[in-house]
């Protein structure tokens, strides 16, 4: 946990300069309508986002990463299966527009959370000294960049909302999931407070059971195993951070926090989704990625064009 020294995250709409450019790259490369909390937290510590993104980005663009995150999603869906349907919708009025939007928000998180878990796992392993990927020329297929046209925006309620009931819910989420921050998933679903209250009330008891804990452990191990199979080199030794004037300890601390929390978050996304999707559909990617057509890897400079 980060305690007193935790740097303030940089909001996705308030970033400027280099951070804004990296946020743009994150949206494009991860195919996400928003910039997730792990990146916003890295951005709060000087040079850490740049260091982590530069190291991670090559793998995140590969078909191997997309496929691996699909496997993480499948693993989470299978782990959720025995826990059954959440049953929160019967305690909430799922009017047409609300149902559409909640489902769309859950699709966003069902797509994105496995990717976040996988990249956090890869980063943590590398920070712990593991060598990921293969040296030398590796032929890799890349996936198309860009936000899928139908992806729901990443709209989030304030982390400390004015509404006391929501504040209390977030506090309970943090306590129950043993994290210092309410993840984007919960802040997103809190846009519909009646639904989120009903869903969390139904989900909370499940998170205390052995079956849930086993599922979380299994998802975490799956993500770590798959992270070790990523094709491109990922090394994060102390010299790397020294060279970039970034604080490795802060990077490691933030990364560990998210890598600890994300398996539980992913399980919760799956359980929330059981109310809206057939169980067998949960494993499928809601935004399957096309392969990228062959093209130059980087934009031409003005000098090249001239």
């Amino acid at each position: 946990m980060l305690g007193q020294t935790k740097p303030a995250a940089v909001s996705m709409y308030e970033a400027t300069g280099e951070t804004a450019f990296i946020y743009h790259q994150i949206r494009q490369v991860l195919r996400a309508s928003g910039v997730s909390a792990i990146f916003r937290s890295w951005a709060g510590a000087e040079h850490v986002l740049d260091a982590m993104w530069s190291a991670l980005r090559p793998n995140l663009e590969t078909r191997a990463f997309e496929d691996a995150s699909d496997h993480v999603r499948e693993a989470a869906a299978h782990a959720a299966h025995p826990l059954g349907t959440l049953g929160a919708v019967t305690h909430f009025e799922p009017t047409e527009s609300r149902a559409f939007q909640i489902r769309a928000a859950l699709d966003l998180h069902r797509y994105l959370t496995p990717k976040l878990l996988l990249l956090a796992a890869a980063a943590r392993l590398a920070l712990d000294g593991e060598y990921i990927g293969r040296e030398g020329a590796v032929a890799t297929e890349l996936v198309e960049r860009g936000v899928p046209p139908r992806m729901y925006p990443m709209a989030l309620v304030d982390e400390r909302p004015d509404d006391k009931q929501l504040r209390d819910l977030f506090r309970d989420v943090r306590r129950t999931m043993k994290t210092t921050a309410a993840d984007d998933v919960y802040r997103s679903l809190a846009l519909w407070p009646d639904y989120f209250t009903a869903a969390w009330t139904h989900l909370r008891p499940l998170t205390r059971g052995d079956e849930f804990r086993d599922a979380v452990d299994s998802v975490r191990e799956t993500a770590r195993s798959l992270a070790r199979t990523l094709p491109l080199p990922l090394r994060l030794p102390p010299e790397y951070f020294q060279g970039r004037q970034a604080d490795m300890e802060t990077a490691a601390s933030i990364t560990a926090e998210y890598e600890d929390a994300l398996p539980g978050t992913l399980m919760n996304v799956m359980l929330f989704a059981t109310d809206w999707q057939p169980l067998d559909a949960l494993a499928r990617s809601p935004f399957a990625a096309e392969s990228r057509a062959a093209r130059r890897a980087s934009p031409r400079t003005t000098a090249e064009v001239a």
């Binding site: 709409y13 308030e14 400027t16 009017t95 527009s97 046209p149 709209a155 989030l156």
Partner: protein, 280 residues
């Protein structure tokens, strides 16, 4: 009516990659009510119960507004919004309707009447963007890239509430009403979407249709809060002069949000318009 109760009435339909949230209440001749910036369909909540007793009220949130699609990857101009309304009416099976628009929604209504005239049985524009009357300076500034970054979201929301309270109403709106009108923009993503909406305000799209106004054949009512400081009543006079046989009703004791300042007067005028026979 609380805004969440209004939102609960909304249905949703997809148009290609976009989706539109809308209220569909009542039966009878269809009436489409279009809101402006920075509001959403809730703007019309005073009209909902009474008008839906005799008409089918259809109240969409424009693209990028309210609870319709607010992703960051599409055109929000009034030309595009008119095309959206045309496509949406097609999808929900409404061939023709009385089109009522306020502010930016009025601009959309005028674009519908000039570019999709088959959709417009009758037309009502109230305190509408038109000619070169817009964008207002505050909305124009909201769309500037640096303005978006120079204030915190809370400060932006506070400024917007203050702007509405101080300049947009002749009546004294309570905090609850103002917060309800702005509710979809309370999150960072919502505010960002509103800034994109502001960036799309384009005077050329109302100037472009000036030569076409004289071709509007639908019975037209120009309804204007006389004390509107954002869109002065002079522009209403121009519209009533350019659109053949248009009737102008100037409403005293009303500013920009005429339907909230004088809901009974607006309801009465709309009821009267709905009684006008549509030319075949």
């Amino acid at each position: 009516m609380a805004w969440r109760d209004f939102q609960a009435l909304q249905r949703v339909t997809t148009l290609g990659d976009r989706f539109v949230s809308y209220v569909d209440q009542g039966s009878g001749d269809p009436v489409v009510l279009l809101h402006g910036i920075p509001t959403w369909g809730y703007l019309w909540h005073h009209q909902l119960d009474e008008l839906s007793a005799s008409s089918r009220l259809l109240i969409p949130d424009l693209l990028g507004y309210g609870f319709s699609d607010r992703s960051d990857r599409f055109d929000r101009s009034i030309a595009q919004q008119a095309a959206m309304v045309d496509a949406w009416m097609q999808v929900i099976g409404v061939e023709q309707a009385t089109i009522v628009g306020h502010d930016v929604g009025g601009g959309v209504a005028l674009r519908l009447a000039t570019h999709f005239p088959r959709r417009v049985a009758r037309l009502c524009v109230m305190n509408s963007v038109c000619y070169d009357a817009w964008p207002t300076e505050s909305m124009w500034r909201r769309g500037l890239p640096h303005a978006a970054r120079d204030m915190s979201r809370r400060d932006k929301m506070t400024a917007m509430v203050r702007g509405l309270r101080d300049g947009a109403f002749a009546s004294a709106p309570d905090d609850d009403l103002l917060e309800s009108l702005l509710a979809p923009y309370a999150t960072a993503a919502g505010m960002h979407s509103l800034e994109r909406d502001a960036e799309s305000l384009d005077v050329n799209q109302t100037m472009e249709i000036v030569p076409l106004l004289s071709r509007i054949t639908a019975p037209t009512l120009v309804l204007w809060g006389e004390d509107d400081a954002f869109l002065p009543v002079d522009y209403a006079e121009r519209l009533a002069w350019d659109i053949p046989d248009a009737e102008l009703i100037r409403i005293k004791g009303a500013r920009h949000f005429v339907m909230l300042d004088q809901p009974d007067v607006v309801r009465g005028a709309l009821t009267q318009l709905l009684g006008v026979a549509v030319p075949v």
